[in-house]
Symmetry: none
Subunit: 215 residues, 4 copies
DNA sequence: AATGAATGAGTATTCATTCAT
DNA sequence: CATGAATGAATACTCATTCAT
């Protein structure tokens, strides 16, 4: 759990006002993931961000807008960053999958962003706009990219003739599971998940499971 | 979406009083999954169950207890039913996995119980007791059962030398994904998931991905 | 200032629930007139009505609706009662005016309803709906009735040829002044207004001022 | 509706600093009359006055003081101006009344000052100090002046033997009605009041209604 | 003098919970 | 057993006020 962004003794005007919104959304992401949207009091978000209740309303019209801003900011910011990573790749498709999954772990799975899926899943019904945004901006593009990857593998004779759509789900399911485990049940479990190991095991399974027949 | 358990015009005596708690938990499961715990008003649960607000308190001490009851009742009821299915099995391990997954779809994945994981994931932090209960009663036993299954496969030379713990996660991840998709984002997506097909593709991948080397 | 409608020791269920809305609107009228809409806390309305904060929301969706209900109830209830009084009158027009004004004092001017004009005038801009309602249901009908009265007087040769529209304003102005004085400045003034005497002086002035030339 | 006192593009030094308080009270008068005291945000006053929120506090200790300043400044400024008009008058009393009323329309009724009565009436209970100030500085002196006028008319045999106190109310009521109509309900009504015509009709009524018997 | 970012007291509103019937 | 009117704690949100610049 992060500590308040600034001590009370620090003069408030030394803080860069441009940084405020980010500090607030970071605090909000943390608390929304931890307690859920409805159970997060804006005052707690403010305290965690090191500001007062009123300041949150200086930057976000209301709690819902803060929620949307959290999701948008975190996702949009990282989405671009994530996309470029897979372009212009030359090697084997399996290597590409492997690299994709490691990049994901580095930039998403191991960061606070991994809390977003839990948030979306929990609040989708109450935030249809967010749900559609997430489907349109994250899930569908991601699935298309991965489906293209599978197709590339099939076309190059590396993978057997699988259904690309379905295979995409099989590709991503363990990553989702990692996100959710880390952000909800893990604190109550003795069993500590080792995500990198799981991803390697997953890659292993995929490599063998997707391999085209030898002859 | 279930309709109220009884019409107001229906004579009262046709309602079996013993059925009340189940009608209430069923309504509660539906609404908790749809709106989340905090956003579900007890009055709506009552209305959906066809009883008055006060009646809910006749059977459940408070909202939290209702929540726990929903989870416990739904799970405990089905867990026993689910367990026996895998014992005393003679055939190949892969057939066992195949049967397990189909049974799951029939008794869990395609039923309202599939909403439970979303509920647990969303509310775990606010209901440590439920989180631990779910881990102890569902996740750990399930994982142990499945790990034993993997080990059986390895011991019988059917599977290659995989890490049973990790493989269990790979086994279950697509099932979790199905549950969550169906109960949160699906209503907002054009893309309709075909869970049985996905499970078959998953079994296919597992069969090849776990197969012991030919020689 | 009225005291709370019921003592805390009185069992709450002895109160007739049908009376609640009226008790609440009565309390609200009193406080809205005294403090203005914005300065009246719903909790104070509740206390004065002898109920709790939540109960107000049982009967009125929100503060604005309570405001509208106060105005509508008080006005609509008395409007019908007031109308019949002037129909089927046979005598001289001036007698009719005289009777009208005395009826008004008895049923409006001397009662809490006299607070309504202050309320409307103060909040018209913030409640356009109320403003229009008041104009349509009170002011215009009232003006039309009175204009017809003036015209009757002119037609019967009792009044000189005045402009009926303008004269209506002259007829009503002192009544408005009474309402406003009683409900805003009077408490701070040494000068105690004697409304009946003022109305008589007004009638006197009207009688002479409107009289048709002798020949 | 006044536009901001200065455009943002206008060079700052063209603004006379000494004019600030007046610009602010003018903006405040406008908004207080339009929305009421509680519903007027100081930020809007500042914006309308073309200054920043903080600047308002440079000149007025708080919102209440601003309110009092608005009332005092507007009234005090005009009261002196208004008083001299009636002194040293030689003609008939009715002419004096006539002149007084026309002067009033010119300097008060047709100007933003006409919004003051609505303000006072609406906020008297919340601003006893203002209420007393208004009674002491406006109402009582005004009433005394007018009562003296009536008495002059009676003494000179122009008016019949009326009660001067009561007659003052009859004299002023239409003016109050004009102020209130213009500043609260008029925007919502089809009926456009013609104040000068109303005042003339009023004067007409008064002339005949107050006239001493011919013999 | 002027600014506007920041604060936090004050209120409307919701809804879990109670309890007399 | 069942009801639903009543309660009041909890929280989102507003806006007067402050103060470092």
């Amino acid at each position: 759990m992060p500590s308040p962004a600034s001590s009370r003794n620090e003069p408030r005007w030394t803080r860069r006002k441009e940084a405020r919104p980010e500090e607030i959304t970071a605090a909000a992401l943390h608390l929304f993931v931890e307690r859920g949207f409805a159970n997060t009091r804006l005052e707690d978000v403010a305290t965690l961000a090191g500001v007062s209740k009123g300041t949150v309303y200086l930057y976000f019209a209301n709690k819902e807008e803060l929620f949307k801003a959290v999701v948008r900011e975190v996702l949009v910011a990282r989405l671009a960053q994530f996309r470029g990573q897979l372009e212009h790749y030359q090697g084997s498709t399996m290597d590409l999958v492997r690299q994709m999954m490691r990049t994901w772990w580095e930039h998403v799975g191991s960061t606070p962003i991994s809390g977003i899926p839990k948030l979306i899943i929990s609040e989708a019904r109450n935030f249809p706009e967010i749900a559609r945004f997430y489907i349109d901006e994250v899930i569908r593009p991601g699935q298309e990219t991965l489906a293209a990857l599978i197709e590339r593998g099939i076309a190059r004779g590396e993978f057997r003739q699988v259904d690309p759509q379905l295979t995409v789900h099989l590709l991503t399911a363990p990553m989702l599971q990692i996100c959710l485990w880390r952000n909800s049940l893990e604190p109550f479990s003795q069993h500590k998940l080792d995500p990198p190991a799981l991803l390697e095991a997953h890659l292993d399974l995929l490599e063998r499971g997707l391999a085209a027949p030898k002859d």
